[in-house]
Amino acid sequence: MKVRVLIRLKPGILDVQGAAVLRALAGLGFADARELRVGKLIDIEVDAATPAAAQQRVDEMCRKLLANTILEDYTIEAVEAGRLAPRQAVR
């Protein structure tokens, strides 16, 4: 079962890296980028009978190791076999 974890800094926390990237974009002429935050993406292949079971295990992994909940929020998304490429992907 493929699962995708998105880890982001909590809303109130200053994202220095995001701000730096935004500045760099502006310097390259991308003034239309108005806000930007950098997070982590973890793709996991996990042995589980059901998607629900997989998500529960990954949730445990997040709490125990993958995310630091003082700083970060996380979202777990199931990626079904047939949907490996997200529907709206451009490339």
Binding site: V16, Q17, K64, L65, L66, N68, I70, L71
Partner: protein
Amino acid sequence: MRFGVVVFPGTWSDCDFHYVISEVIRQPVKYVWHRDRNLSDLDCVILPGGFSYGDYLRAGAVAGKSPVVEALLEFVANGGYVLGSCNGFQILCEAGLLPGVLMRNECLQYRCQSTNLLVENVETPFTRGLRAGQVLTMPISHGEGKYYADPPTLAALKARHGIVFRYATADGQVVKAANPNGSVENIAGVVNETGTVLGLMPHPERAAETAMGGTDGLLLLQSLLGTLVEDGTFLKR
């Protein structure tokens, strides 16, 4: 006092601490492997600097879950002392033994430089030989040393005088210009509620001999041992 220096895969200040303890303050010391859980023959456990597990996920995250760190809970409950420097501080925070967390430096670069530390709390075993307001000089060497705690945690930390060191100028001014990594309120080191677990980003083991540019780091260990002599008498402030 019997010291143990913990070695995780990726630790590199282990030998430096070992050297200072055995050759400079001349105390019994041994290495403790990260899988060990038996700390019963030790008085003080040191978590040294380095990149445990490469710090590939978050600094200290993986080591924070290791057997030896789990064993620290009981060790601390039994009155043992723990000193975490650099990666050791990050590990203590990740393990929940100290509040807060260490984030990527605000400049987004690694920093290796000398820093001045204003001593704020002299009621801990590691600082009892120092004067409040004293300024120590110690180097830092890290990429993720920006201390962060949410406002309630920070308020509680301050209320119990948990902040031990802040980055400051040579004459003790706590100002932004003296802050090498963007730490909240220039925090460089904090202590737990009982004062027995100290975490700091600077490297006391690199400031333990005149030849290495200073001996202020030694003051922490000498405080712990009760051997610090100032004006001829220990603990005379």
